[in-house]
Chain length 108, copies 2
Amino acid sequence: MDAILQALADPSRRTVLRSLRDGPATVTELAAQLPIARPGVSRHLRVLREAGLVEVEHQAQFRLYRLRPEPLAELDEWLGDYRALWQQRFDALHTEVARGKKQRKGKG
Amino acid sequence: MDAILQALADPSRRTVLRSLRDGPATVTELAAQLPIARPGVSRHLRVLREAGLVEVEHQAQFRLYRLRPEPLAELDEWLGDYRALWQQRFDALHTEVARGKKQRKGKG
DNA sequence: TAGTTACGTAACAAGCAAGGTACATAGATC
DNA sequence: GATCTATGTACCTTGCTTGTTACGTAACTA
Protein backbone atom coordinates (compact mmCIF):
# COMPACT_ATOMS: atom_id res chain seq x y z
CA MET A 1 0.00 0.00 0.00
CA ASP A 2 2.80 2.36 0.88
CA ALA A 3 4.74 1.51 -2.26
CA ILE A 4 1.66 2.02 -4.42
CA LEU A 5 0.85 5.51 -3.17
CA GLN A 6 4.52 6.38 -3.18
CA ALA A 7 4.70 5.38 -6.84
CA LEU A 8 1.54 7.27 -7.76
CA ALA A 9 2.65 10.43 -6.01
CA ASP A 10 4.95 11.38 -8.87
CA PRO A 11 3.27 13.03 -11.90
CA SER A 12 5.78 11.54 -14.35
CA ARG A 13 4.95 8.06 -13.14
CA ARG A 14 1.23 8.71 -13.49
CA THR A 15 1.88 9.86 -17.06
CA VAL A 16 3.70 6.60 -17.70
CA LEU A 17 0.76 4.64 -16.36
CA ARG A 18 -1.67 6.56 -18.51
CA SER A 19 0.46 5.87 -21.59
CA LEU A 20 0.55 2.18 -20.77
CA ARG A 21 -3.24 2.09 -20.73
CA ASP A 22 -3.04 2.24 -24.52
CA GLY A 23 -0.85 -0.84 -24.55
CA PRO A 24 2.72 -1.97 -23.79
CA ALA A 25 5.60 0.35 -24.63
CA THR A 26 9.39 0.47 -24.54
CA VAL A 27 11.42 2.81 -22.38
CA THR A 28 12.39 4.95 -25.35
CA GLU A 29 8.75 5.34 -26.38
CA LEU A 30 7.75 6.35 -22.88
CA ALA A 31 10.66 8.75 -22.53
CA ALA A 32 9.59 10.49 -25.75
CA GLN A 33 6.35 11.47 -24.02
CA LEU A 34 8.05 12.90 -20.95
CA PRO A 35 10.21 15.97 -20.36
CA ILE A 36 12.95 13.84 -18.79
CA ALA A 37 15.76 11.73 -20.21
CA ARG A 38 15.67 7.96 -20.62
CA PRO A 39 17.68 7.08 -17.52
CA GLY A 40 15.14 8.97 -15.44
CA VAL A 41 12.31 7.07 -17.03
CA SER A 42 14.14 3.83 -16.35
CA ARG A 43 14.26 4.80 -12.72
CA HIS A 44 10.57 5.63 -12.63
CA LEU A 45 9.80 2.30 -14.22
CA ARG A 46 11.80 0.57 -11.53
CA VAL A 47 9.68 2.23 -8.85
CA LEU A 48 6.52 1.25 -10.71
CA ARG A 49 7.78 -2.30 -11.10
CA GLU A 50 8.63 -2.59 -7.41
CA ALA A 51 5.13 -1.38 -6.62
CA GLY A 52 3.79 -4.06 -8.95
CA LEU A 53 2.18 -1.50 -11.23
CA VAL A 54 4.07 -2.57 -14.34
CA GLU A 55 5.69 -5.73 -15.59
CA VAL A 56 8.50 -6.20 -18.08
CA GLU A 57 8.82 -8.55 -21.01
CA HIS A 58 12.25 -8.94 -22.55
CA GLN A 59 11.97 -8.71 -26.32
CA ALA A 60 15.41 -8.98 -27.87
CA GLN A 61 17.28 -5.87 -26.66
CA PHE A 62 14.00 -4.13 -25.94
CA ARG A 63 12.03 -4.16 -22.69
CA LEU A 64 8.31 -4.09 -23.20
CA TYR A 65 6.61 -2.51 -20.20
CA ARG A 66 3.02 -3.44 -19.55
CA LEU A 67 0.48 -2.08 -17.06
CA ARG A 68 -0.46 -4.28 -14.10
CA PRO A 69 -3.70 -2.92 -12.63
CA GLU A 70 -3.89 -5.26 -9.64
CA PRO A 71 -2.25 -2.87 -7.15
CA LEU A 72 -4.78 -0.26 -8.16
CA ALA A 73 -7.48 -2.66 -7.04
CA GLU A 74 -5.74 -2.72 -3.68
CA LEU A 75 -5.85 1.06 -3.60
CA ASP A 76 -9.51 0.85 -4.54
CA GLU A 77 -10.07 -1.41 -1.55
CA TRP A 78 -8.30 1.07 0.69
CA LEU A 79 -10.47 3.84 -0.68
CA GLY A 80 -13.48 1.67 0.06
CA ASP A 81 -13.02 2.36 3.76
CA TYR A 82 -13.75 6.02 3.01
CA ARG A 83 -16.14 5.64 0.09
CA ALA A 84 -19.25 5.53 2.23
CA LEU A 85 -18.26 8.86 3.77
CA TRP A 86 -18.45 10.85 0.57
CA GLN A 87 -21.24 8.87 -0.98
CA GLN A 88 -23.40 9.73 2.01
CA ARG A 89 -23.11 13.33 0.94
CA PHE A 90 -23.91 12.79 -2.73
CA ASP A 91 -26.45 10.11 -3.30
CA ALA A 92 -27.92 7.71 -0.80
CA LEU A 93 -29.16 5.35 -3.49
CA HIS A 94 -25.75 5.19 -5.07
CA THR A 95 -24.40 4.15 -1.70
CA GLU A 96 -26.59 1.09 -1.72
CA VAL A 97 -25.15 -0.06 -5.05
CA ALA A 98 -21.59 0.48 -3.82
CA ARG A 99 -22.22 -1.49 -0.66
CA GLY A 100 -23.47 -4.37 -2.78
CA LYS A 101 -20.16 -4.33 -4.64
CA LYS A 102 -18.20 -4.16 -1.40
CA GLN A 103 -20.00 -7.14 0.08
CA ARG A 104 -19.05 -9.26 -2.93
CA LYS A 105 -15.41 -8.39 -2.47
CA GLY A 106 -15.57 -9.21 1.22
CA LYS A 107 -13.42 -6.34 2.38
CA GLY A 108 -12.41 -6.43 6.06
CA MET B 1 -5.08 15.45 -7.94
CA ASP B 2 -1.38 15.96 -7.43
CA ALA B 3 -1.87 17.44 -3.99
CA ILE B 4 -4.13 14.58 -2.97
CA LEU B 5 -1.73 11.80 -3.89
CA GLN B 6 1.13 13.80 -2.45
CA ALA B 7 -0.74 14.05 0.82
CA LEU B 8 -1.65 10.37 0.87
CA ALA B 9 1.90 9.27 0.13
CA ASP B 10 2.98 9.79 3.73
CA PRO B 11 2.06 7.01 6.18
CA SER B 12 1.69 9.41 9.08
CA ARG B 13 -0.88 11.40 7.17
CA ARG B 14 -2.81 8.26 6.29
CA THR B 15 -2.84 7.38 9.97
CA VAL B 16 -4.26 10.81 10.71
CA LEU B 17 -7.00 10.28 8.14
CA ARG B 18 -7.86 6.89 9.58
CA SER B 19 -8.11 8.40 13.05
CA LEU B 20 -10.39 11.13 11.77
CA ARG B 21 -12.76 8.50 10.38
CA ASP B 22 -13.85 7.94 13.98
CA GLY B 23 -14.70 11.62 14.31
CA PRO B 24 -13.06 15.02 14.69
CA ALA B 25 -9.95 15.35 16.84
CA THR B 26 -7.53 17.96 18.13
CA VAL B 27 -3.86 18.17 17.17
CA THR B 28 -2.80 16.91 20.58
CA GLU B 29 -5.07 13.88 20.30
CA LEU B 30 -3.75 13.05 16.87
CA ALA B 31 -0.15 13.54 17.94
CA ALA B 32 -0.68 11.09 20.78
CA GLN B 33 -1.37 8.38 18.21
CA LEU B 34 1.75 9.08 16.20
CA PRO B 35 5.47 8.62 16.88
CA ILE B 36 6.17 12.28 16.08
CA ALA B 37 5.89 15.51 18.05
CA ARG B 38 3.00 17.98 17.82
CA PRO B 39 4.69 20.48 15.51
CA GLY B 40 5.23 17.70 12.99
CA VAL B 41 1.59 16.74 13.19
CA SER B 42 0.63 20.37 12.71
CA ARG B 43 2.65 20.36 9.53
CA HIS B 44 1.02 17.17 8.29
CA LEU B 45 -2.36 18.66 8.98
CA ARG B 46 -1.45 21.67 6.93
CA VAL B 47 -0.63 19.45 3.97
CA LEU B 48 -3.89 17.59 4.43
CA ARG B 49 -5.79 20.85 4.70
CA GLU B 50 -4.20 22.23 1.54
CA ALA B 51 -5.19 19.04 -0.24
CA GLY B 52 -8.72 19.56 1.05
CA LEU B 53 -8.68 16.30 2.98
CA VAL B 54 -9.36 17.89 6.36
CA GLU B 55 -11.05 21.02 7.61
CA VAL B 56 -10.55 22.94 10.84
CA GLU B 57 -13.04 24.30 13.29
CA HIS B 58 -11.77 26.78 15.87
CA GLN B 59 -13.14 25.83 19.27
CA ALA B 60 -11.79 28.22 21.87
CA GLN B 61 -8.03 27.56 21.98
CA PHE B 62 -8.53 24.15 20.37
CA ARG B 63 -8.56 23.30 16.64
CA LEU B 64 -10.97 20.53 15.80
CA TYR B 65 -9.84 18.72 12.68
CA ARG B 66 -12.46 16.92 10.66
CA LEU B 67 -12.17 14.56 7.68
CA ARG B 68 -13.27 15.89 4.29
CA PRO B 69 -13.78 12.89 1.99
CA GLU B 70 -14.52 14.83 -1.21
CA PRO B 71 -10.95 14.74 -2.57
CA LEU B 72 -11.01 10.99 -2.13
CA ALA B 73 -13.97 10.92 -4.50
CA GLU B 74 -11.77 12.70 -6.99
CA LEU B 75 -9.13 10.03 -6.53
CA ASP B 76 -11.85 7.44 -6.98
CA GLU B 77 -12.74 9.04 -10.30
CA TRP B 78 -9.12 8.93 -11.38
CA LEU B 79 -8.99 5.27 -10.41
CA GLY B 80 -12.11 4.76 -12.49
CA ASP B 81 -10.07 5.14 -15.66
CA TYR B 82 -8.17 2.01 -14.64
CA ARG B 83 -10.93 0.14 -12.86
CA ALA B 84 -12.14 -1.62 -15.99
CA LEU B 85 -8.65 -3.00 -16.51
CA TRP B 86 -8.52 -4.99 -13.33
CA GLN B 87 -12.17 -5.83 -13.29
CA GLN B 88 -11.78 -7.42 -16.72
CA ARG B 89 -9.55 -9.96 -15.08
CA PHE B 90 -12.01 -10.66 -12.31
CA ASP B 91 -15.51 -10.37 -13.59
CA ALA B 92 -16.53 -9.46 -17.14
CA LEU B 93 -20.10 -8.65 -16.15
CA HIS B 94 -18.85 -6.25 -13.54
CA THR B 95 -16.92 -4.40 -16.24
CA GLU B 96 -20.15 -3.55 -18.00
CA VAL B 97 -21.44 -1.81 -14.89
CA ALA B 98 -18.22 0.18 -14.51
CA ARG B 99 -18.37 1.36 -18.10
CA GLY B 100 -21.92 2.52 -17.56
CA LYS B 101 -20.71 4.67 -14.66
CA LYS B 102 -17.82 6.05 -16.72
CA GLN B 103 -20.12 7.13 -19.51
CA ARG B 104 -22.33 9.00 -17.08
CA LYS B 105 -19.38 10.85 -15.60
CA GLY B 106 -17.95 11.68 -19.01
CA LYS B 107 -14.34 11.71 -17.79
CA GLY B 108 -11.70 12.80 -20.36
C1' DT C 1 -2.83 41.19 34.57
C1' DA C 2 -0.18 36.80 35.20
C1' DG C 3 -0.15 32.05 34.23
C1' DT C 4 -1.53 27.89 31.74
C1' DT C 5 -3.10 25.38 27.68
C1' DA C 6 -3.36 24.46 22.73
C1' DC C 7 -1.59 25.45 18.64
C1' DG C 8 1.08 27.31 14.55
C1' DT C 9 5.44 28.79 12.55
C1' DA C 10 10.43 29.88 12.05
C1' DA C 11 14.89 28.04 11.92
C1' DC C 12 17.74 24.24 11.49
C1' DA C 13 19.59 19.38 10.45
C1' DA C 14 19.10 14.96 8.11
C1' DG C 15 17.25 12.08 4.59
C1' DC C 16 15.25 11.01 0.36
C1' DA C 17 13.89 11.68 -4.30
C1' DA C 18 14.46 13.17 -8.96
C1' DG C 19 17.12 14.80 -12.51
C1' DG C 20 21.36 14.64 -15.47
C1' DT C 21 25.87 12.67 -17.35
C1' DA C 22 28.87 8.90 -17.93
C1' DC C 23 29.41 4.23 -18.25
C1' DA C 24 28.43 -0.94 -18.46
C1' DT C 25 25.70 -4.67 -20.46
C1' DA C 26 22.78 -7.50 -23.77
C1' DG C 27 21.23 -8.38 -28.20
C1' DA C 28 21.14 -7.57 -33.29
C1' DT C 29 23.72 -6.69 -37.60
C1' DC C 30 27.48 -6.78 -40.60
C1' DG D 1 34.78 -9.67 -33.63
C1' DA D 2 33.36 -4.73 -34.32
C1' DT D 3 29.54 -1.74 -34.12
C1' DC D 4 24.99 0.04 -33.35
C1' DT D 5 20.71 -0.01 -30.57
C1' DA D 6 18.16 -0.28 -26.26
C1' DT D 7 18.44 -0.25 -21.64
C1' DG D 8 19.91 -0.30 -16.65
C1' DT D 9 23.02 1.53 -13.06
C1' DA D 10 26.61 4.42 -10.61
C1' DC D 11 27.64 8.81 -9.24
C1' DC D 12 26.78 13.52 -8.43
C1' DT D 13 23.93 17.59 -7.54
C1' DT D 14 19.83 19.87 -6.13
C1' DG D 15 15.63 20.61 -3.90
C1' DC D 16 11.87 19.11 -1.23
C1' DT D 17 10.24 16.58 2.95
C1' DT D 18 10.28 15.32 7.62
C1' DG D 19 11.44 15.78 12.10
C1' DT D 20 13.19 18.54 16.17
C1' DT D 21 13.63 22.61 19.23
C1' DA D 22 12.56 27.35 20.21
C1' DC D 23 9.45 30.83 20.01
C1' DG D 24 5.10 33.59 19.18
C1' DT D 25 0.00 33.89 19.54
C1' DA D 26 -4.84 33.20 21.12
C1' DA D 27 -8.00 31.83 24.58
C1' DC D 28 -9.30 30.21 29.15
C1' DT D 29 -8.48 30.72 34.42
C1' DA D 30 -7.59 32.86 38.67
